[in-house]
């Protein structure tokens, strides 16, 4: 087929284009291709060259959108794509299609066994909290290491930080009930999650696109995990209610066996579902951001005057500060997800302006909180909790300032949207660095209190 290499390439491109239409299945594309080739060879027989024959054949096939619309009318079910547990006819030979499912289930059970073993052998409650992430991480990262077939250097790059974290969390002489131990446990989760990101990116963590994919993955995972949890809760409630009527107490079994296996297992399964359904349904997280961005703006605009007039800044309750941190993180998530779902080439629109308003409101809240924190530290002295919160707020402040600055540039047409996007993805490791500092440096600095 050497003389027709150009034609073959054109047909290949055409196939790729047709396949993007959801209503047209792979078998339909085969059928249409057979038709196209028949038409082309008939045109060639009348003396047209490859290029002309291809163009005529394409023209006669008709407007692809209209044809796709007809297909959609006939096969409306295809617009509701089905989740295929075991992909049929996958081209990469060697790996049987059911293997991934088997690996996922094995890893999910493994995560459950690890958590159950942790519960059985670690008697100290604080130590258990510190180790929770460490018990589940290998299985989640292991799934992506398997899926992406990571290289040995990447695997080493995952195992070494994991080992360092595990050693730190277990060998540091944390005081019982101390705040540095709790801070280390919380911040270790952030570091572990970014390590999952490295595994997710298959080691290509420097790539902005991979980072953005990981952001999308995180959002979808949260949603899938929540859905699985809701479904599980319904099942558990029904089982417990049924058993109670015949006088059996379900609670010990639930606490001892079901939850330790179900929760980590659901996390692994949710990760796999996000991977498996990538092409199956629209992402949900970006849809939610559209709904919640205006609502969050309203919430911030209500909270801001309340906070500002709530008496002396030093008097602001510690719990309130923690809550506000949570709100700021929520704002950043909203920002990240709307950015991750936005077409980078679309011109600035109303929603982009709305986002800027959101960022500005969040900045005002953050500034207020920083003032409150500094006042508290000046008045009552510093503590590990306060310094950790202060650091987090500074990190958030820089993130929001950068986002606001670039968003203004984008809205005024001075900057492409990719600049906004790149700022978000490039800034992510800063959180990892800060979290690692809290885990590794805070305990010795504050005497493991």
């Amino acid at each position: 087929m050497e003389p027709h290499a150009g034609l073959e390439a054109q047909i290949e491109r055409w196939r790729g284009y047709v396949q993007r239409h959801q209503a047209i299945s792979a078998a339909d594309v085969d059928e249409l291709e057979d038709h196209l080739r028949g038409q082309i060879s008939d045109r060639q027989a009348t003396g047209l060259d490859d290029e002309e024959a291809f163009l005529v054949a394409i023209k006669r096939l008709g407007n692809l959108d209209a044809v796709s619309h007809e297909f959609a009318r006939e096969h409306s079910d295809r617009l509701w794509k089905q989740l295929v547990l075991v992909p049929e006819g996958s081209d990469d030979a060697g790996a049987p299609p059911w293997r991934e499912l088997a690996v996922v289930l094995a890893l999910a059970v493994g995560a459950g066994v690890a958590v159950k073993a942790g519960l059985a052998w670690i008697n100290d409650g604080d130590a258990l909290v510190r180790n929770a992430g460490l018990l589940v991480f290998p299985f989640l990262a292991g799934y992506f290491a398997f899926k992406r077939r990571v290289s040995v250097p990447v695997a080493v790059g995952l195992i070494v930080p994991f080992a360092v974290l595990a050693a730190t969390l277990n060998l540091y002489p944390f005081m019982a009930g101390g705040s540095t131990g709790m801070l280390a446990a919380l911040h270790a989760l952030v570091v572990l999650w970014l390590l999952v990101g490295v595994a997710y990116a298959g080691g290509r963590w420097r790539s902005d696109r991979r980072r953005m994919d990981f952001v999308r993955f995180t959002g979808e995972l949260a949603i899938y995990f929540t859905l699985l949890a809701l479904g599980g809760a319904v099942l558990i409630a029904l089982t417990a209610a049924t058993l109670r009527t015949i006088g059996i107490d379900f609670e010990p079994v639930l606490e001892e066996w079901i939850l330790p296996f179900a929760v980590p297992g659901a996390l692994v399964v949710a990760a796999w579902l996000v991977e498996a359904k990538q092409q199956v349904v629209e992402n949900i997280a970006p849809v939610l951001t559209r709904v919640f961005t205006p609502l969050t703006i309203a919430m911030l605009l209500v909270l801001l005057p309340v906070l500002a007039t709530a008496g002396g800044l030093a008097g602001i309750d510690r719990n309130l500060l923690i809550l506000m941190d949570a709100i700021l993180i929520l704002v950043l998530c909203l920002l990240l997800y709307s950015i991750s779902a936005r077409d980078a080439l679309a011109p600035p629109g109303l929603f982009d302006a709305l986002q800027l308003v959101l960022v500005a409101a969040a900045l005002a809240v953050d500034a207020l909180m920083l003032t409150a924190m500094l006042t508290r530290i000046a008045e009552f002295g510093s503590s590990p909790n306060k310094i950790a919160a202060l650091g987090l707020n500074v990190v958030l402040l820089v993130h929001l300032l950068g986002a606001a600055w670039l968003a203004i540039g984008f809205l005024r047409g001075r900057r492409p949207f990719t600049a906004v996007e790149r700022w978000q993805t490039r800034y992510l490791p800063v959180y990892g660095v800060w979290a690692a500092a809290v885990v590794l440096l805070f305990p010795p600095l504050f005497g493991f209190a």
């Binding site: 096939l61 007809e70 006939e74």
Partner: protein, 120 residues
């Protein structure tokens, strides 16, 4: 002479079923046969044939099977089923009635160009 789009659409089903009574065929061959039968007057958008064939298959009027073409590529063949033959017979009756009615109307009223000639 080009045939009106609506008329093409209305006649598509009986035409395809009728062609398939001649024997099993694949999509492109069906379309070529339509062209031959109408002297090129009935122009379809090629791509629209397939959703139609799939609809006929869902209704049980045709059955399909994958084979290979002379060039060794995958090719989907369609064959008419007994249910399809019944449907075709019914359509034929309907079309006969329509054609009959039209013929009577045109016989009683002279064709338009003739009328113009009559005036001249």
């Amino acid at each position: 002479m080009r045939i009106d789009k609506d008329l093409v659409a209305a006649s598509a089903t009986p035409l395809v079923l009728g062609i398939l009574t001649e024997g099993e065929l694949y999509g492109y061959a069906i379309l070529k046969r339509v062209g031959e039968l109408s002297g090129g007057g009935m122009q379809w958008t090629d791509g629209m044939l397939y959703p139609l064939l799939h609809r006929l298959e869902r209704l049980g009027y045709v059955s399909s099977s994958w084979g290979t073409s002379d060039a060794g590529r995958k090719r989907k063949h369609y064959a008419i089923t007994p249910a399809g033959r019944e449907a075709l017979a019914e359509r034929q009756e309907q079309w006969t009635v329509v054609a009959d009615a039209l013929r009577q109307v045109w016989q009683s009223a002279p064709r338009f160009p003739d009328a113009i000639q009559g005036l001249a």
